[in-house]
């Protein structure tokens, strides 16, 4: 259970990215976060794994207060929260399998990292995870040699190495074409349904949110505008979230 209480983030330049957000996300849900650019989606996700430190409010996950945790505890918490990114954030010059193994770093003794050593079991698990996202044969290629969709799948495999209970996805398909977008979303859906991983996914396209999520949260100017089932968003709600001039685009 992830509980967000009165979460506010004001950046040093005075920009209020999140404004008193209250949420309760039960384990195993697939939650989409929609909203315009700058509405606070990324900030919200990054507050949950403390890449960003919130100004006010609390985030409590499985009875641990993430906002109050010290540096070391934060790392212990982050190990169990996977994250994938719009730009995939892979180390492009490293091999695919190295990128995947990096998901295991939180569990690895830092002394071993000097030698680039990972235990046999981790290597096997990395290959298994690559097989799961369907790119096992690419394991020893450079990450930069892969297509966008494949790179995002490497990102998913990397997050899987953490054996996460919660997956944060920050615009995972915004840099991909429609067909690849669906394939990546499907993998997230499988993780959600098969492994029971809670997924929090920010999306640009409402249609993707409707197709894949159990629940949709909409942010506008840092405020929570909508929280409910994907089918509850009608045209009026849509205009409320995206502004009067917006027209819904289907992505197939």
């Amino acid at each position: 259970m992830l509980i967000i209480e009165n979460l506010t983030k004001i950046y040093d330049n005075g920009f209020k990215a999140l404004d008193n957000i209250n949420l309760e996300i039960p384990d195993g849900q697939f939650v989409s976060i929609i909203g315009l650019s700058g509405s606070g989606k990324s900030t919200l996700l990054r507050c949950i794994n403390r890449l960003i430190r919130p100004t006010h409010g609390r985030i409590i996950w499985n009875d641990t207060d993430i906002t109050a945790a010290n540096e070391e505890d934060v790392r212990a918490i982050r190990r169990r929260i996977g994250m994938i990114f719009q730009q995939f954030n892979l180390v492009k010059r490293s091999s695919v399998i190295t990128n995947v193994l990096q998901g295991r770093l939180g569990y690895t003794n830092p002394l071993f990292s000097f030698l680039n050593y990972f235990p046999r079991s981790d290597r096997d698990e990395a290959l298994a995870n690559l097989e799961r996202v369907g790119i096992k044969e690419q394991a020893y290629k450079r990450a930069s040699a892969l297509s966008g969709g494949q790179q995002q799948r490497v990102g998913i495999a990397r997050a899987l190495m953490q054996r996460p209970e919660l997956m944060l996805a920050d615009e995972p398909v915004a840099s991909l074409d429609p067909a690849t977008s669906h394939s990546v979303m499907k993998y997230l859906e499988i993780l959600n349904s098969e492994d029971g991983i809670t997924v929090l996914c920010s999306l640009h396209f409402l249609s993707l949110a409707r197709t894949y999520s159990d629940r949709v949260i909409a942010l506008k100017d840092g405020k929570l505008m909508f929280d409910g089932g994907p089918q509850e968003i009608d045209n009026a709600r849509f205009k409320q979230i995206y502004g009067e001039d917006a027209v819904e685009v289907q992505i197939n």
């Binding site: 100004t55 295991r104 569990y107 990292s113």
Partner: protein, 714 residues
């Protein structure tokens, strides 16, 4: 609200611009005076002649030599035609050139026509007048068609003939004597071979290229290490709890002493193992035990960090790591010495002596021997530094639970104690340095000012807690920084007065070395003790008011420190550095290598760190989100991204170092510059030309090579 500027303001602005331009013009015009730019000097005939000759010789480099012999052809001549017979004309062998004079007698001051045929084409020749007593002097030639080269030297034309008029020398009382006119023709024999100058230049050029190579390679590991500290994107996020930072400073000296004491033993021991010297077995057993401990501690890779046991294990691991690092460095150093001995021994057995293989063995042995020697010499220092780096972390690990939970009066009390100790140590360290030279006396003043600023900031923040960042007003920030600045100035001035830095600066009197004792425990110079007292008070106030729970931007501090040192080092040209190193290690390539290394460290450190600052931060964020620690993030997300630019910049630096090492010899730094300087000072421009040619050739080839390699990696 922006209001459009009024006409009068516009006019004023234009007037200001015109004034600024005029002032700028005046300043610029002064530049033409101060730099002695002058049209008259280059036009003076003597200077034009000088430069023409210098250029001519520079562009006629003495590349090859050829052995020669001089054929002499002579004809006799009588002074005064009125007495006696004309000298008999020597009959030449058939086909041999013969010098003829017309007429064969004359008065001093007359001109006589001479001619000769069948000389070797393009050979050099010269005329000599030989008197009856056998005294010879060179003569000039008039009305000749032959090309003149240099003074009284002529080049024989393509028909092999040489003719002209020569003036009979005016020597008193020679009337009636028979003199001789001699023509010497220089004839090359054998094939041309490289001149001694060329061989010397090649030898020095090789030395020069290796100087650049040494300087570059030695500087690489050092500047790679430094570059991480000089990269803003890596250092800025590093924050430390204030208490931890103070504890760190307070523990470092003890760590150094303890390390220099204990780890030195470990290093000496492994050094002796490595170099096959005798050793006693007790440290061996201890080290073995430690190694087993390490292996056991690192066996389990999945740690649960929150349990007490795990914390203990972590501490044990770190301690063990410390010992292992020291042991490995010692062992490697020992191997160096053993390798040196072994290879030297092997080389001495190879027959014949001094062949290529034994040369190679000897130079490899020498290299690893020197590296081993560095370890042997610096053992206590390396041991101290290792412990000073790792021990504070350990103490912090133990103190963390306390530092994190203390509140209220305890918080401030611990802060005061830690602040006092760390302030005292910081001031003590810089005061010890300050005793070395007058300008260094400013260091304690600077540190005193920083501590004073921290103290005042601590007091202000205690009584007027700062608002959240986004509520800070411009005025508020201004007031706070002004107050802090005032604190810095006051405490800096107080330090200046108390330590009488003024005296030191004005008449160069260094602080007295008389000793005082600290609570009867340690004996230190009173100057250092005074400085430590200042540090104790200021640090105590700062720590006492701020407490230990705040956050300290240690990364910012390290970044600023590293960057400033790099910039200061970079601003000193290698030529100036070489001057100092020549004093230290004597004239020769070693001084040049040291100077270039120091400058390369500063320069590469800056270039490398700028590359780190331009990397894609996405992977860093991704790895942080997996729970990787800072070090792991650097290893996996930063290092792979910076390898290609690092290679490119290293090549670029090597290129620069070759250029620099060609001139560093001018100040005694060895290499081809030393030779070039000698040639120029001896006015041997023909030889200097060879060196200049070699420099141009090597620099352009390396320029091309480095560009080609860089292109592959960028």
């Amino acid at each position: 609200m922006l209001t459009p500027p009024t006409d009068s303001r516009k006019a004023l602005r234009r007037l200001l611009i015109i004034i600024a331009i005029s002032v700028g013009f005046l300043i610029y015009s002064y530049g033409w005076t101060i730099t002695d730019i002058d049209l008259a000097k280059p036009q003076e005939p003597s200077r034009q002649e000088g430069v023409t000759r210098a250029l001519q010789e520079l562009l006629s480099p003495n590349l090859f030599d050829q052995d020669t012999e001089t054929d002499i052809f002579g004809a006799e001549f009588r002074i005064g035609c009125e007495t006696g017979d004309l000298p008999a004309v020597a009959s030449a062998e058939a086909g041999q050139p013969m010098l003829t004079l017309e007429p064969a007698c004359g008065e001093p001051g007359d001109r006589v026509f001479f001619s000769i045929n069948g000389l070797p084409v393009n050979s050099r020749s010269g005329l000599r007048w030989v008197t009856a007593s056998g005294e010879g002097r060179p003569r000039d030639v008039f009305e000749t068609r032959e090309a003149s080269r240099g003074r009284n030297q002529f080049v024989i034309r393509s028909d092999g003939s040489f003719s002209g008029y020569v003036e009979i020398p005016r020597i008193v009382g020679t009337s009636g004597e028979v003199h001789r006119l001699e023509l010497g023709v220089v004839v090359p024999i054998g094939s041309p071979y490289p001149s001694p100058t060329l061989s010397e230049v090649i030898r020095r050029m090789i030395e020069t290229i290796f100087m650049a190579l040494m300087a570059t390679t030695i500087s690489i590991p050092i500047s790679v290490g430094i570059s991480f500290f000089a990269a803003y994107n890596l250092m800025r996020p590093i924050k430390m709890q204030l208490g931890s930072a103070m504890l760190w400073l307070a523990v470092v000296p003890f760590g150094y002493l303890l390390g220099a004491w204990l780890l030195t033993e470990v290093m000496r021991f492994t050094f002796n193992i490595g170099s096959f010297h005798a050793f006693n077995a007790t440290p061996a057993v201890i080290s073995l035990g430690v190694l087993v401990g390490v292996t056991a501690a690192t066996r389990a890779t999945s740690l649960q960090p929150d349990t007490g046991l795990a914390r203990l294990r972590q501490i044990a691991t770190r301690l063990a790591a410390m010992v292992v690092v020291a042991a490995v460095i010692g062992l490697v150093g020992g191997f160096g010495i053993a390798g040196h001995d072994g290879l030297g021994d092997l080389a001495s057995r190879i027959e014949p002596q001094g062949n290529l293989l034994s040369g190679i063995l000897n130079s490899v042995g020498r290299m690893i021997g020197i590296l081993g020697g560095i370890v042997e010499l610096a053992t206590p220092m390396i041991a101290g530094v290792i412990a000073a780096l790792m021990l504070p972390g350990l103490v912090n690990e133990l103190a963390k639970p306390i530092l994190r939970t203390v509140t209220g009066a305890v918080d401030h009390a611990i802060g005061a104690v830690l602040g006092g100790i760390s302030g005292a140590f910081a001031m003590g360290a810089v005061a010890a340095v300050a005793m070395g030279a007058a300008l260094l006396g400013l260091l304690p003043v600077l540190v005193g000012a920083l501590l004073g600023r921290a103290a005042v900031t601590g007091i202000v923040n205690h009584f007027f807690p700062p608002p959240p960042v986004f509520l800070v007003t411009h005025t508020g920030r201004m007031v706070r920084s002004l107050v802090s600045l005032a604190g810095a100035l006051i405490s800096g001035y107080a330090t200046f007065r108390i330590l009488s830095v003024g005296r030191t600066l004005i008449d160069g009197t260094l602080p007295p070395v008389e000793n005082g004792s600290l609570l009867g425990l340690v004996t230190l110079p009173t100057y250092v003790l005074t400085a430590m007292t200042i540090g104790l008070v200021l640090g105590g106030v700062a720590g006492g008011f701020s407490g230990v729970r705040g956050s300290f931007a240690i990364g910012d501090l390290l970044y600023g420190f590293t960057r400033n040192i790099l910039n200061a080092l970079r601003s000193i040209e290698p030529l100036i550095m070489a001057l100092i190193f020549v004093v230290w290690v004597g004239i020769g390539p070693f001084a040049g290598v040291l100077a270039l290394t120091l400058h390369s460290i500063a320069s590469l450190g800056k270039l490398y760190s700028e590359q780190i600052e331009t990397i894609d931060n996405g992977p860093i964020e991704a790895l942080q989100s997996t729970g990787a620690n800072h070090l792991q993030t650097v290893i996996y997300a930063v290092v792979p991204q910076i390898v290609p630019p690092y290679i490119a910049f290293t090549m670029y630096r090597w290129d620069i170092n070759v250029r620099m090492s060609t001139i560093i010899g001018f100040v005694g730094g060895g290499g081809i510059g030393l030779l070039l300087n000698q040639y120029i000072n001896l006015l041997r421009y023909n030889d200097a030309g060879v060196a200049v040619l070699a420099i141009a050739l090597v620099v352009s080839v390396l320029d091309y090579l480095s560009a080609a390699i860089r292109e592959r990696y960028t």
